[in-house]
């Protein structure tokens, strides 16, 4: 391994907790989010949506809407590219996205967009929406995953299944995944106890507080500007250009500050519509979704139905694990059936393991990524069965997990062999944590669970420009969804040896940098961080060259130390160290501007594991669960800014608590969403939660110069199971369906 790539371990800036660079903007209201942009001559857009779960559009009459004073344009599917063709599966993702953004001849779910209006005010646009007359022929619908796979279920789209689907399955099964190793039948024969159970989870929404919002401007020459709240403006540029038939480079996209995403802002919804309206009116058009629209028409996570069978010996050794995972992903392909199956048994080193995943379509909104897509549900099912086995065999749940834990060299349940991983360290930290030893009262339960996520690298480009005064401007292409500008500046400070405050990190627009993949897969601190370190090293090479030229010695005879160019040894000569500033202030005359950059697709993301401990109390009268104490233990590889690592741990746990106890998409028999608002879709409040303790475990990732692993997603993997295990102990009955809402707990208690 090149010296360049070895893990660094002595840090001056990394691991400290400086103030975030966007802090003052965000506490004073100055930060500009998606809806905070205005343009001269701007129109307001509003979208016409289907009230039906499944219907054929017989006609759309927009004449009355168009006649309303102030209405400037109406668009329908006819206003988008006709070059995008339907094929099977996710191969036609542009077509799927277009069909979701603007329905063609059928509406596929309650909330599906079918027309849009631009008017001189938001009120007029909304009034005009009500004047659009749509004639529907209502078709049979299905919203439940098991029903959607059953014989006789209405087919959402003929020809949608991809080649992975074996014959004989319902056409709503659009993708199939199967993997494993060993022989599970042999494994089950070796077991002293086998437990088999089925589980269901409802769809949940990412629940970001900022609704989708954008401001678009597009001329008939195909040149456009788009401002929007997004996790990935480069992807939005590419997709919007395709949907509108534009050349990608002619559309410049700027990411606003983003008011939460959690995966849900990795995909376009309103942006192509605003661009189409702008093109038709030659004026800027702003669209801001209402909260109801966010719930009805943007990506919730998949709902699931899962069967798990695990065999265990009396000493706690797991002899075999088998899982079947059915994921409902709305009216389009893409439910993470495969990823769910891959994550399910990943924490454990199993001789015999087998998993199957189905991606299924139904009449619901197109599912979108939500923090470790699929993994939390898989963990809920698998870790619940492991908990039940431990209880039956009277074994300590942490000892059993330690006994079976994946380690370096383990052949993972989904195929590859693990490199350095930190699961054992997480479990050991859990075992010795005061929380695990604290006494419980009657009516209380303690649950633990492990969780796993792959993490991701992805296309990344970073540019690092030096100023004459010795300060540094970093341009990144990954929207900052959790304080990443602070951690990126910390890594640059570490490399360059200059103070954190002398660095400014900006999320650059699409015209400024090469392609950057979306901020997803917990990839930003890993991949953009890695690219920043390499870009800084590129700048350092150039700085050293200037010093070498000044001193008249070879480039190789200069090294960079603590913010200065110095001769690399006594043979190189005796020269006074040159500070970064002393080089940059003369750079115009010594060869021109100095800019470091790096472009790559890093592939060493390094998987991540966590262990959560939770105490819960169940009120047998009301069925209400109170979370009493919560501890998150997770391997971060190396925490760059520990406060924001803790924040990710706490935020993931809180979202998991909501998912486990309250949050669910509720559909009526008419296929309409019944709880499209924060009053009825209840995310955790401050008064619902205790403090959430965190332990940062650091087992360096060999794929990052400082050892960073992504931390954003793994934190939501264990909570569903950990809480289910705590609630099951507290209530004295095993809960197998989420959310564990009061009525469901009361029903389980009554059935007991």
């Amino acid at each position: 391994m090149a010296l360049d790539d070895q893990n660094k371990s002595n840090f001056k800036f990394v691991g400290t907790r400086p103030k975030r660079p966007d802090g003052i903007d965000k506490v004073t209201g100055r930060a500009k989010f998606g809806a905070d942009s205005y343009a001269a001559g701007m129109l307001h857009g509003a979208i016409v949506r289907s009230p039906h779960a499944h219907a054929r559009i017989k006609s759309i009459d927009t004449s009355e809407a168009e006649a309303l004073k102030g209405v400037k344009a109406v668009v329908t599917r006819a206003d988008f590219s006709k070059d995008i063709k339907f094929t099977s599966g996710k191969d036609s993702e542009d077509w799927n996205v277009l069909e979701n953004v603007m329905a063609d001849d059928r509406v596929l779910y309650d909330g599906h967009a079918l027309a849009a209006i631009a008017a001189t005010s938001a009120l007029i646009a909304r009034d005009a929406v009500k004047l659009v007359k749509v004639e529907y022929e209502i078709l049979p619908h299905v919203t439940d995953v098991d029903e959607a796979m059953a014989v006789g279920a209405p087919v959402i789209r003929k020809g949608a299944p991809d080649k992975s689907v074996p014959p004989g399955l319902h056409e709503n099964v659009v993708s199939y995944y199967e993997s494993g190793h060993g022989d599970v039948e042999v494994g089950f024969q070796e077991a002293d106890l086998i437990i088999e159970n089925s589980f269901k989870t409802e769809a949940t929404h990412q629940g970001y507080i900022e609704p989708h919002a954008c401001l678009a401007s597009l001329g008939s020459d195909g040149k456009g500007e788009l401002w929007c709240t997004t996790q990935g403006h480069f992807k939005f540029q590419k997709v919007c250009a395709a949907l509108l038939g534009l050349e990608t480079s002619q559309l410049r996209v700027t990411a606003s500050e983003i008011g939460g995403g959690f995966g849900g802002k990795t995909t376009v919804f309103i942006e192509p519509v605003a661009l189409a309206l702008s093109r038709k009116t030659n004026r800027p058009v702003k669209i801001v979704m209402s909260r109801t629209e966010v719930f009805r028409a943007t990506g919730p996570t998949a709902s699931t139905s899962m069967d798990i069978k695990i065999g265990m010996k009396k000493d706690g050794t797991i002899t075999a694990g088998q899982g079947t995972f059915r994921l409902q992903g709305g009216a389009f392909p893409g439910a993470p059936g495969g990823m769910t199956a891959m994550c399910a048994f990943a924490p454990y080193a199993l001789k015999n393991v087998h998993q199957i995943g189905y991606s299924v379509m139904s009449n619901r909104p197109k599912q979108a990524a939500y923090r470790a897509p699929g993994s939390p549900m898989a963990a809920f099912a698998v870790e619940s069965v492991i908990d039940a086995l431990c209880k039956k065999l009277d074994l300590d749940p942490i000892e059993v997990r330690l006994k079976n834990a994946s380690r370096k060299g383990t052949k993972a349940s989904y195929g590859p062999t693990f490199e350095e991983i930190g699961l054992v360290e997480c479990l050991e930290a859990a075992k010795s944590h005061s929380h695990y030893k604290a006494p419980l009262k009657a009516g209380q339960g303690r649950g633990i669970s492990c969780g796993f996520w792959f993490n991701f690298g992805g296309e990344t480009a970073v540019s690092l420009a030096l100023s004459e005064d010795g300060t540094v401007q970093i341009s990144v292409g990954t929207p900052d969804i959790g304080g990443s500008r602070a951690s990126i500046a910390l890594m640059a400070a570490e490399e360059l040896g200059i103070p954190y405050d002398h660095i400014r990190c900006t999320v650059a627009d699409t015209a400024t940098l090469g392609y950057n993949e979306v901020s997803h897969g917990s990839r930003v601190t890993y991949a953009t961080g890695l690219a920043t370190i390499k870009a800084a090293r590129d700048a350092i090479r150039k700085l050293c060259k200037r010093a070498a030229e000044k001193w008249g010695i070879p480039e190789e005879a200069v090294k960079w130390e603590d913010g200065h160019a110095i001769p690399s040894g006594p043979n190189a000569g005796d020269f006074e160290p040159l500070s970064l500033k002393s080089i940059t202030e003369k750079m115009g005359k010594t060869g021109g501007p100095i800019v470091g950059h790096f472009e790559a697709t890093p592939e060493g993301a390094g998987v991540s594991f966590a262990t959560h401990i939770v105490d819960a109390e169940v009120d047998p009268e009301t069925g209400k669960t109170q979370i009493l104490r919560y501890t998150v233990i997770q391997d971060a590889g190396k925490a760059i800014h520990p406060s924001y690592v803790e924040g990710q741990f706490q935020g993931g746990a809180a979202q998991g608590i909501g998912w486990a106890l309250n949050e669910e998409y509720i559909y009526g028999s008419d296929g309409r969403l019944q709880n499209a608002g924060f009053l009825d879709y209840r995310i955790p409040l401050a008064s619902d939660l205790p403090m959430i303790d965190t332990v940062i475990v650091e087992v360096p990732n060999p794929g990052h110069p400082y050892g960073v692993r992504g931390v954003g997603e793994t934190s939501i993997c264990p909570p569903l199971a950990a809480i289910a295990n705590a609630v099951s102990q507290a209530a004295g009955v095993r809960l197998t369906e989420l959310p564990m809402s009061p009525p469901r707990i009361l029903a389980a208690l009554k059935a007991e």
């Binding site: 103030k19 003052i24 809806a35 959690f262 909260r291 969804i481 959790g482 403090m691 959430i692």
Partner: protein, 159 residues
């Protein structure tokens, strides 16, 4: 429908604007007065991102009509620090990393300032229940609650 002329005081400044009778105070602050610090997260009074003070009372500005504020005094996040110094709550939120995305932060700061004016020594439970109308999806509230309790202690010591 004809527009209504409204005069009010915002963060100590006299303002006037024309609004449709259906427009909310939040719409007017953002679209007429360019004060975009208050956010619309739901439009139904559930998330608190639009919290402002209206003649001394903490309200969701999405639940107040613009036409209702004639002659009233409004305080928004933009008025929380009126010179180069931040309010102690603002300082502490940055120091404690009590925000991630920051969309709920203006509402939470306005609501918390109102709490500390009423009750300079709240318990953790009191803070949690006071903020039950302000949703945060990123942080799990832990660092927010710690920042508030610590600010309250500092402010008591300073006064």
């Amino acid at each position: 429908m004809s527009n209504i002329h409204v005069n009010a005081t915002v963060n100590g400044d006299e303002v006037g604007f024309l609004c449709d009778p259906r427009e909310t105070l939040l719409d007017c602050l953002r679209d007429k007065l360019s004060l975009t610090g208050a956010k619309e997260g739901c439009g139904t009074g559930d998330c608190g991102a639009c919290s402002v003070k209206l003649s001394g009372r903490l309200v969701c500005s999405c639940l107040v009509l613009g036409a209702e504020v004639e002659g009233q005094e409004i305080e928004t996040i933009e008025g929380m620090s009126r010179d180069e110094n931040l309010h102690p709550l603002q300082e502490k939120f940055i120091e404690y990393a009590a925000l991630q995305c920051g969309i709920c932060t203006p509402g939470i700061l306005v609501a918390t300032k109102a709490l500390l004016e009423k009750n300079p020594d709240p318990t953790e439970t009191e803070v949690r229940y006071w903020l039950a109308g302000n949703l945060c999806r990123c942080t799990g509230y832990d660092k927010i609650i710690r920042a508030i309790l610590d600010t309250a202690a500092d402010m008591r010591e300073a006064s």
